[in-house]
């Protein structure tokens, strides 16, 4: 099966509409970034707390926010998780490193007070840790005639929590469900009912980052990315010629800017995992560009008399089916991740879904035109200042832009 065979599209001829589209996209992104005062950093980069909570029923956003604002100063964000099952993300600000310790406690206590049964003196089974549950159940179990050794006790609680976390995704809605767990007798179940209650929510993760640590992480991520880009530029310049390195890096930069811009337009947060996605996209886009450049380099040796513009066109056409196939397959993988990967991978896969599309076309419509453009400029300059004979012949001997393959 073949999709493309000996195609001959005039890619460079159609570059302007695409470059215009790129300009529009990046300008829109930049405007959004400027208007919103920079990217919307996740707590990884600005400091704050982030709590991921699964509720039994659709989360009552407004109620959560009101309850929290009574305890916690500053902006509080509560949002539904897109595509999640009754899940919500709760974020608060942290102005100083001193508030760090209290933040988690304040949030969990507020949730318990709003949705749980704080006055009952019972333990919340859905948010209890292993040791707390063991301590809580030990004496009552003995009173109810269930005598277990310490090891058996630990095992029983381990099985209960395993059931809660693995089979029920952290949220048990009725004590009756627990009777399916091995070792849970009627007496155990009664003790559980007597000592615990089931809050209609489960705290799935908590991230707390101090403002200082956030700023450090931000500086580091940016520095590492820029250095990595610089490293790639040097390698490509060494293997090809410096303009190729510059063109590849400009293309990759273009992809990153547009992706960050789109994140800003859609009001999505930039977190550490999104940075990992951006790095993936940089690697992917760079790979794509090098494949085209490699073909150009090869063709330069064979088709010595051909004009660079049409040579680049030919190279892009020759690699077209590979480009489409690879991008298509990578896109499928990332799409699967976006659709099935869950909340944790949401930002990550979104960045890649956007990035793969942009990364593919930037190799063709951004990186390649830059090389051709530069060659044209330097040729024109040479013709102006070079020997009249060469200019008159109309076929200026092209300076071979390729070093011997090492």
């Amino acid at each position: 099966m073949e999709i493309f065979r000996n195609t001959n599209f005039d890619f460079l001829g159609y570059k302007w509409p695409f470059i215009a589209a790129s300009l529009v996209l990046s300008t829109a992104g930049l405007i959004s970034l400027v208007a919103k005062g920079g990217p919307r950093y996740g707590i990884d980069f600005r400091g704050g707390t982030n709590m991921f909570v699964k509720f039994q029923d659709p989360p009552q956003i407004q109620r959560i926010r009101t309850a929290l604002s009574r305890r916690i100063a500053g902006e509080i964000t509560v949002q539904n998780v897109v595509g999640g099952a009754n899940e919500a993300l709760i974020g608060t600000e942290l102005k100083s490193d001193k508030e760090l310790a209290a933040a988690r406690l304040a949030m969990t206590e507020t949730l318990e007070a709003t949705f749980g049964q704080p006055g009952s003196g019972k333990l919340d089974f859905n948010n209890a840790g292993r040791q707390a549950l063991v301590d809580r159940l030990r004496d009552p179990l003995i009173r109810n005639g269930v005598s277990l050794s310490d090891a058996e006790m630990q095992e029983l609680v381990g099985r209960l929590l395993d059931y809660r976390d693995r089979s029920r995704s952290g949220l048990v809605t009725s004590f009756g469900d627990l009777s399916t767990v091995s070792g849970v007798s009627a007496a155990v179940l009664n003790t559980l009912k007597q000592e615990c209650y089931l809050a209609p929510f489960n705290v799935k993760s908590v991230d707390i980052v101090g403002p200082k640590a956030g700023a450090e992480l931000r500086v580091q991520a940016i520095r590492a990315t820029l250095l990595a880009l610089g490293g790639m530029l040097v390698y490509i310049a060494f293997r090809f010629e410096w303009i190729y390195g510059v063109a590849a890096v400009v293309a990759v930069f273009h992809d990153t800017i547009i992706t960050i811009g789109l994140f800003s337009i859609f009001n999505k947060e930039i977190s550490l995992t999104v940075i990992a996605a951006l790095l993936t996209l940089v690697g992917y886009s760079m790979n794509d560009t090098i494949v085209v450049f490699d073909r150009i380099r090869e063709n330069l040796k064979i088709l010595r008399r051909e004009k660079l513009g049409s040579l680049v066109n030919k190279s892009i056409n020759q690699t077209l089916s590979r480009t489409i196939l690879t991008s298509g397959l990578t896109f499928l993988t990332v799409l699967a991740l976006f659709l099935f990967g869950g909340e944790v991978l949401h930002g990550f896969s979104l960045a890649l879904v956007i990035g793969i599309i942009i990364g593919t076309y930037s190799s063709i419509f951004i990186a390649s035109p830059i090389v051709v453009f530069w060659q044209d400029v330097s040729e024109r300059r040479k013709r102006r200042g070079g020997s009249p004979a060469a200019a008159a012949s109309g076929q200026a001997p092209r300076k071979n832009p390729v070093k011997a393959v090492k």
């Binding site: 990578t330 993988t333 099935f340 890649l352």
Partner: protein
């Protein structure tokens, strides 16, 4: 099969077996296979659930304490040498960054005594300090850079060790404590606690200073500090101090004790401590003193039978029992709420106190249910994605597609095996690295196959087309791979944890890919071509 192909096949088989061994070991049953898999492929905290804490060791505390010690002994020495001064104090560096600014100020030293002061400070006793004068009568002492570096390093090491002991004593599973070793985070420790979804207890254990003092009680309890002064004639007796009690007073208010200023024995004299059950089955912590401490304690209790003794923990009186008889080497701290409290206190008593305070600039907790969700969703997404890739490759490249799929699978197996052998953990960003690896592995195959097709279209024979296809694509593959490895090197050197995990996984995957896409796939082609005498058609 020609001998060249056979050699290659043997190499591939060896690599495959070695990789499989690295992932699943030599399982005898399905359960064993599962447990081997779990122990070899270690999941990061974000996939498995657990707590991740960053601690900043407040090294300025240790430096300030050192300055206080110097001030104490200087005051003594100046008195002995007959050097007058108006005041002596130190500044108060508030953060780790300001630590190096530590300074002791001595003011109002008569100009005639300046020579004496200089020779005193220049003696080896104060080698850690550098004297400078800010005016004819005022001086400042700064800590020498070498001393500062040494002191800060010692503080960090000691804190790390103490915390390590304390956490290990908790028995919460395989924890790791590492120094950050970064220029701007020199005094940060990273603590990882797999399976712990509420780090509150661990934090408390780490933070407890556990300063134990046993002192003689000179008076009390009093309802307030004023009450204490009033009952002692307006001023506190010499060599005594007022300490608040953790126990509630008569009407539920605070209560205070007047204690001797210098404790009889301290936490340093504790040799061992363990939880126990006292009267009426209440939990308490029993401790045993060292030989030296026991001697002092025995002498003191003998002389003070009938008087009271205060057990002070972290600056609070925990109990003040009456001394019934001479006690030699043991004591107990009552008032624990439950067994865990008593055991935790015993633990910190055994392991000693921290030389400096700690703060937590970062804390991340992934509950076990989220970890399980992430792994499940990741596996579903992975299966869907990979199936799509495999199906497309098979439909598009037919026979050659099988090559690609086998190479892809082998690549994944090698990647996992290397992670297992290297003891690296698989994290979420690591999975990002795996995805990019799969992408580049597919790409390498596509590059080669497209090249072979081109050569076939140009009219070359099958053998020549495969040969040229591989050779030409090889250069491109090297270029793309080296570029990515270069960028990974920078990410690894300058990135933080998650970014590093990404870089490591990707580099391993890329190296494996050069092997599978070029060497393995080529071998399969050669094997196919060698099977028949004259190959005229290639399924590609």
């Amino acid at each position: 099969m020609t001998s060249a192909v056979r050699t290659r096949a043997i190499v591939i088989l060896c690599v495959l077996l070695l990789a499989l061994y690295g992932i699943i070991g030599l399982p005898k049953s399905l359960d064993e296979l599962k447990s081997n898999l779990q122990s070899n492929i270690r999941l990061g905290l974000d996939l498995k659930g657990g707590s991740f804490l960053v601690l900043e060791v407040q090294v300025q505390d240790a430096v300030k304490a050192e300055a206080d010690r110097a001030i104490e002994s200087l005051k003594e020495d100046l008195r002995k040498a007959g050097i007058d001064y108006a005041s002596m104090d130190r500044n108060d560096p508030a953060s780790v960054k300001e630590t190096d600014s530590i300074q002791i100020n001595i003011k109002g030293v008569p100009t005639t005594k300046s020579g004496d002061l200089r020779s005193l400070i220049n003696s080896t006793r104060y080698a850690a300090w550098h004297l400078a004068s800010s005016s004819p009568t005022d001086y400042r002492l700064n800590m020498t850079p070498t001393e500062l570096i040494g002191l800060k390093k010692d503080t960090l090491d000691q804190t790390k060790q103490t915390i390590e002991h304390r956490i290990n004593g908790l028995g919460v599973g395989e924890t790791t404590i590492q120094e950050r070793r970064r220029a701007d985070a020199e005094y940060e420790l990273v603590v990882e606690l797999p399976g712990v979804d509420d780090p509150g207890r661990v934090k408390q254990i780490m933070q407890t200073a556990a300063m134990l003092e046993l002192s003689d009680v000179k008076g009390g309890p009093y309802a307030s500090q004023d009450d204490a002064r009033a009952k002692n004639g307006g001023v506190l007796p010499l060599d005594s101090k007022l300490v608040k009690s953790a126990l509630r007073g008569g009407e539920g208010g605070d209560s205070w004790y007047l204690l001797g200023r210098v404790p009889v024995v301290t936490g340093r004299d504790v040799r061992n401590a363990r939880p126990g059950r006292g009267e009426m089955g209440k939990w308490e912590t029993d401790f045993v003193l060292s030989k030296d401490g026991a001697r002092r304690f025995a002498r003191f209790t003998e002389a003070n039978v009938g008087n009271r003794l205060a057990i002070v923990l972290d600056g609070q009186v925990r109990s003040a029992p009456t001394i019934q008889s001479r006690i030699e080497d043991s004591g107990r701290i009552t008032g624990a709420a439950n067994e865990q409290d008593a055991a935790d206190l015993a633990l910190v008593l055994r392991e000693g106190s921290l030389p400096a305070g700690i703060t937590y600039p970062e804390e991340r907790t992934v509950g076990p249910s989220l970890g399980a969700d992430s792994v499940r969703q990741g596996i579903i997404a992975g299966i869907v994605g990979l199936s799509a890739v495999i199906l497309t490759m098979l439909v598009y490249y037919k026979g050659a597609g099988v090559n690609a799929v086998l190479a892809l699978v082998l690549n994944a197996v090698i990647l996992l095996a290397v992670l297992g052998y290297a003891g690296a953990v698989l994290t979420l960003p690591g999975i990002a690295g795996v995805i990019l690896t799969v992408g580049m592995a597919v790409d390498s195959n596509v590059l080669i196959f497209e090249r072979i097709r081109e050569e076939l279209r140009a009219g070359k024979g099958v053998v020549a087309a495969v040969d040229t296809g591989f050779n030409k694509a090889f250069l491109t593959i090297i270029d793309t791979h080296v570029t990515t490895v270069v960028s990974c090197a920078f990410l690894f050197m300058f990135g933080t944890g998650p970014v590093k995990g990404f870089a490591v996984t990707l580099v391993i995957g890329l190296i494996a890919n050069v092997f599978t896409a070029v060497f393995v796939s080529r071998t399969m082609f050669n094997w196919h071509l060698n099977r028949q005498w004259q190959v005229t058609r290639l399924s590609i």
